[in-house]
Amino acid sequence: MELSDHLFRREAGRMIAALTRIFGVHNLGLAEDVVQEAFCRAAEVWKFRGVPDNPSAWLMATAKNCALDALRRQRTARSYAPELGRYLESEWTRASIIEEQFGANAIRDDLLRMMFSCCHPRLAEEAQVALILHILCGFSVGEIAGAFVSSRAAIEKRITRAKAVLAQSKKLFDVAAAAEVAARLPAVQRALYLLFNEGYHGACAETAIRAELCREAMRLTAELLAHPLGRTPASYALAALMALDAARLQARADEAGALLSLIDQDRTQWDQELIGEGLKLLELSAAGADLTAYHVEAAIAAQHARAASVEETDWATIVELYETLSAIRPSPIVALNRAIAIGQRDGPERGLDAIAAIDGADRLAAYPFYPAARGEMELARGEKDAAAEHFRAALALARNPSERRFLQRRVEACASSLGEREKSRG
């Protein structure tokens, strides 16, 4: 028996969610220790005996025993979860309560409870995302720092602070209260969206790590959809968006790890299964009257996913969708994407006009794909020198080797008599 990929990571989130329910959110540290111990004990045996047939069940059983030991060691069970404390103090009821908390349905609720708890309104969005990654996805501080291209110390501080806020809340979020769930659901969706985007567009150079962030975001979104109160049209739209984008993840870099633009991607590498799933989720999201930004972004991703080539892409519809998105959630990046789509629909001159008209373009000053978009359009209308200048400016802003290689190639493409793409297409 082999361990499935990232099993420990997944189980860590489940165990910590169940244990925090038992020990109380203010004893998060104890829950973390118990998880460590459970992993350690299980892994010790597996090293010698091999992986058992059902490693998840084994881990959960070990965690239950470790939890019981921890409760016996500390005889102040009343200070644990307020609603369970009474049962945890008695040796008679303790085991059955723990058994109950580790039941499949209870763990699913616990996971959701934790997800909602992490999106506490007193926490900044980036702190929510870091906390989710740390607690529910088992990322160490170092791994988060790597994924966010941030310093260890900064992430450490962010997580410690976030945990303190969580601990002060005394009680985990109540996922049975429909009104409260509905009120916090947008924050949870937003955090998962940001987590996915960090993986998809983020600055981290390692493709594998970015793919993991996307995968974790998709896993937690699926957990959200598994719960009746989390299963809203917006959640479906979010899941659709993730699936449709993730379908292109493999094709976004060449063998050397350089970024490939939508135009240069080998569309046969797109994951058709994920695209099919995304389109199905998008259909499910169409219920109700709410049109969220997730709906529109998913619809744009679906347009790309359906098109066999750049030429066959329905750019007119995409321009319209970006306009809808601008109305729901205006941002210079959305405006830039609209301008690029206009360039494809009406030609590079119109695209350049649209770029020039972007509101709040100063906020794009550090974004490499802002000058790069200008470069593409200049190149498309044969202004090689102007294009090269824009690509050089973009290159200076590149955030990782993958972007650097991509932009370097665009600079070189301007120098050749024909654009690199035109040449390779022959």
Binding site: F8, R9, V51, S140, E143
Partner: protein
């Protein structure tokens, strides 16, 4: 063929479940490879970290062993190899080295022939 014990010294610590999983997988693969080549006589068992140490003629009982983490014996395995050199060679792929641990390779003393005859 002679018998040897591998005493695994050192306890591991991992900052993340992912790292622990990767490490555990390495151990499983290493043990399996040893077994497939017919070197494992007895897989042995992991040992709990905590226990008691009984010492002296008065039988003093102490909590422990409080060896440093890197010296603590975490488990043992009985293996078969042609000689000590081969046994040492076999130990070399052990994943415990990745976490700063050590493998102590100790020949199991062979019972001498006379003793075996006496017993019979």
């Amino acid at each position: 063929m002679s018998e040897f014990t591998f005493l695994f010294r050192g306890r591991d610590y991992f900052a993340s479940p992912e790292q622990r999983q990767k490490h555990t997988e390495k151990w499983v693969a290493w043990f399996k490879a040893l077994g497939d080549k017919g070197h494992i006589k007895d897989m042995g068992r992991p040992l709990e970290a905590a226990g008691k140490v009984v010492r002296g003629d008065k039988g003093n009982v102490q909590d422990g062993p409080y060896a440093e983490a890197k010296d603590l014996i975490g488990g043992y395995t009985l293996i078969e190899a042609a000689n000590l050199d081969e046994a040492v060679e076999l130990s070399k792929g052990c994943p415990i080295f990745d976490v700063g641990g050590a493998v102590e390779v100790r020949p199991v003393q062979a019972l001498n022939v006379q003793y075996q005859e006496l017993k019979a």
